[in-house]
Assembly symmetry: C2
Homo-oligomer: 315 residues x 2
């Protein structure tokens, strides 16, 4: 991290674009938010004010005015990107629009500026392939809303230069967010693949009449989702067996494989993969202290449920 | 609900069995916890005491001693089930063991007693088919740990009588838990199918080298999981589009279908299903008040993250 305040241009002032602007500004960056439509910028400005008020009221922001001062809006692209070290594109998911916007950005921004796309659906390679500066273009994809949730997946196209990946990763980290490094492009990348695997099975269960929509939502918010709020799926499995992940996956390996195949997950995992994941888990959650980990999980679950109950009482 | 205290027999004193005992006792039931192994009952007794202490310390239990007084342990099956209105089986997931235990339970318990199995893996029909009283046997499956998490899926076998489903559902509800009614058996039922769809894709992403295990866990605990802690997947999608679920699913229908197919979810959903889910969402989260719903979502997310941060500071 340099001591200079990083300057970031946010392109597109829709929901994601303006949430990005707040996320970057919360992390200390100076942000210019660009849109071709003046009315969109006006809407964004008042939405950002409301967001900043909420952040302050919830104790998540020390100085609302300082944050608002770090966000400027602009209808001039050249003004928006002037002096920026990173450009974050969040226009609509339409191939022709993305193509045009990236052509303009690549033409206007100096070579050293990274250009991240918020595209969760279209692979970035699809609309950057013909650009002279395609080596600094890459995926920088958040979870909605990025001004609160911290996970950001970062993925190179086949032609993205390593420095662009490193630079974007460090930037995201320096702003207090959590970069997930995806090694190469795949439809939906990591976050939406995980999400859509579950959504797809949810549609199957309701569509084929096994349960009602409310049961799906209840299964998450009164069950699986509360664990996943602070433990990932590997960590969750690890804590569900006294001997950890290896035991969880291999005690009834045949049953686990059958169930995954039934829900459409056909990747032929082997024991080396399970052992690799177990080693990763062992580093932060050693099996030797499993009862303590489980107790901490339970206490955190209780704490979250209590907070949710309090909020229900408030509203 | 009757004014009488329901009596429940918990069979098997492992992790799930003893957590069930606490769950039922928290809900006001009188519990007898049975195991053939005296040492297992001793371990369960001290684990239950520790659990009750944590519940009380976390403000989730008004009277620890009253709860402990409602749980008795026993090595006599006939003593354990005497006077019970419901028997909850939580022995190991082994077909022969389940078969034997259900044979004993069915022989010993009066016809009016429902027998629920905690089996998340083996379908209940596989080990109840030959029982004279198979009509009162069914799945009653929690999320671990059931003394904290409230979702419980309830599913009949092909021969379960409707009264047994109704009675178990009312019992679970009366104890403050959230029943999910599954209409008919399917491998993994609802909770584990949703979980394993995501787990299976996670193994694919790590196994094929797209990311590291830590990235998967981060995608949930710094992203998807925080939303799912209080909004199910349908509710989450609904709030991600200003016009709600219909817009979320159908704006780029082709892309959504392609992504689901890519992650293995091959159910051929149609517009009628999406409209049904939208109607269900509209009842509690009307599109006309979408900005208010999104703001409430954001405030709850901030509140949960603040609580998690506080806990990290404590530990």
């Amino acid at each position: 991290m340099t001591s200079r305040t990083p300057r970031i241009a946010c392109i597109g002032a829709g929901n994601i674009g303006r949430s990005w602007a707040v996320a970057f500004a919360r992390g200390g960056a100076a942000v210019r938010l660009f849109d071709t439509v003046p009315a969109a910028l006006e809407r964004a400005r008042s939405a950002i004010e409301a967001t900043a008020t909420d952040l302050e009221q919830m104790g998540r922001l020390p100085d609302k005015q300082a944050l608002l001062d770090r966000i400027q809006v602009s209808t001039s692209l050249s003004e928006a990107i002037e002096g920026a070290c990173h450009i974050q594109e969040s226009v609509i998911d339409d191939l022709e629009v993305k193509r045009r916007v990236f052509r303009d950005l690549d033409a206007a921004a100096p070579d050293t500026v990274t250009i991240g796309s918020s595209s969760g659906e279209l692979p970035v390679s699809k609309f950057t392939d013909e650009l002279p500066g395609r080596g600094r273009c890459l995926l920088v994809h958040p979870v909605n809303p990025p001004h609160i949730l911290r996970a950001v997946e970062i993925c190179p196209t086949p032609w993205t230069d390593p420095w662009a990946v490193e630079s974007s990763t460090r930037l995201v980290e320096s702003l207090g967010m959590v970069p997930l490094k995806v090694s190469r492009e795949i439809n939906g990348y990591v976050i939406n693949r995980l999400q859509y695997a579950l959504i797809g099975e949810a549609l199957h269960l309701v569509g084929a009449g096994y349960c009602e929509p409310a049961d799906i939502d209840a299964a998450l918010k009164h069950g699986l989702g509360l664990r996943w709020a602070f433990l990932g799926p590997f960590e969750t499995s690890h804590l569900n067996a006294s001997q950890g992940y290896l035991q969880y996956m291999l005690t009834d390996e045949e049953g686990a494989r059958r169930l995954m195949t039934d829900v459409g997950a056909r990747y032929p995992w082997n024991h080396a993969l399970i052992e690799k994941i177990h080693r990763y888990l062992e580093a932060s959650l050693p099996v030797s202290a499993m009862p303590a980990h489980q107790r901490e999980r339970d206490r955190t679950l209780m704490s979250l449920m209590q907070r949710l109950q309090e909020r229900k009482g408030e509203s």
